[in-house]
Symmetry: C2
Subunit: 199 residues, 2 copies
DNA sequence: GCGGAAAAAGCACGGCCGTTCTATGAATGG
DNA sequence: CCATTCATAGAACGGCCGTGCTTTTTCCGC
């Protein structure tokens, strides 16, 4: 009962990387099996269906994301440093070798936005958690006095994520070498605007 | 030579709408033919390959976008009104019935960002033109004195498009009823920050 | 080290894919 | 009005897809 779960996890790791390149729909069981040196049916046995595979890929990606982006940021001081750490962490995540094809959630968002089903539900929940995480970090920054009291933290989280999406577009599609600089400038402007009134 | 080009255009219209739902990859020749009541081979004859179909779909979508979004904005007064018109036009575009599945360019951007080829090249060019259009509108706003002289207009265009991408995500994936309000607030903040120093 | 269980492979299926070739029908120009 | 071109349909192909079923191999507790 141990060997099975091990390969199961190995499959998911490879699947996440592959899916970031070819998308969730483009992730085929045959292709994934070949990449792993397994038989198609042997791999299929781990998941009862392709839909289940897609859900588990998203869950696995969420787990990696939490480990790689959210948890390190939680180690940073409460307030603005943590808000900035979440932003930096996401930039690093989108650049990670694990994701040769860029953030898998951004790719999945475009694929699934009109495809009702368990995969979409899983993605939406994951993204909601992420936005809540961003908003909560901003809320703490308000409490700490780094951000102004009247700040709409959900709006801030929304705007912060929009900058990330803009970065993804500029970097991965447009191959803009200035993508990261542009994103940082946009985010800095957001943070500055969130600061308490100076005078 | 007339009948052919007519159906050719009809095919592309339907293809654009369908592709906005299922994506460029998901757009199958068989499915498209059925939607139009044509035979698969009869439709295929209009395009020498699926890659060519994808390119022409993107070109057709760009033409519609230019007609529906850019041209009306060019009728607005130079400066901030035109900048705002481009933003409003995009919001309307993303909501249009033509695009049941949301902006086809956003969907294609995620699909093609790691798929080199003519389709990707076509999309990149279209997006570059769009960003240039946004930047140029901002540049005019600087000349008109609506925006401050030192404004980085390319950065402004980048940030403006990021807001649009954030809107698309919030609206189409998250189904956030506040998506449009959030986007307008974010864009207003951008415009306000672009204004000349008040004092 | 053996026997049962779990994991993987092998094989076959129906289905849709893009693509090609051939035939037939309709539109068009002289 | 007729001949020619052009637009569409039909059938067939090899290929990959997801998915079951059966067999073989591998693992693991006793």
């Amino acid at each position: 009962m141990r060997k099975g779960e091990l390969t199961h996890q190995t499959i998911l790791e490879t699947a996440v990387r592959l899916a970031s390149r070819v998308g969730l729909q483009g992730l085929s069981i045959g292709g994934l099996a070949e990449e792993l040196g397994l038989s198609k049916s042997g791999l299929f046995a781990h998941f009862k269906s392709k839909a289940e595979l897609q859900v588990q890929v998203l869950e696995a990606a969420t787990a990696v994301f939490t480990e790689r982006v959210i948890r390190p940021a939680l180690g940073k001081p409460r307030g603005e440093p943590r808000v900035r750490a979440l932003f930096d962490g996401w930039l690093t995540w989108d650049r990670d070798k694990i994701l040769e094809g860029g953030c898998i959630f951004v790719a999945a968002a475009a694929e699934l936005d009109d495809a009702p089903g368990p995969a979409r539900d899983t993605l939406v929940q994951s993204q909601r958690d992420w936005l809540d995480c961003l908003a909560q970090a901003a809320r703490i920054a308000v409490v700490e006095g780094h951000f102004r009291k009247a700040l709409d933290v959900e709006q801030f989280a929304h705007d912060q994520y929009a900058v990330m999406l803009g970065f993804h577009h500029a970097k991965r599609l447009m191959r803009d070498p200035q993508a990261e600089a542009r994103a940082r400038r946009a985010f800095d402007a957001l943070v500055t605007a969130a600061h308490p009134p100076t005078s």
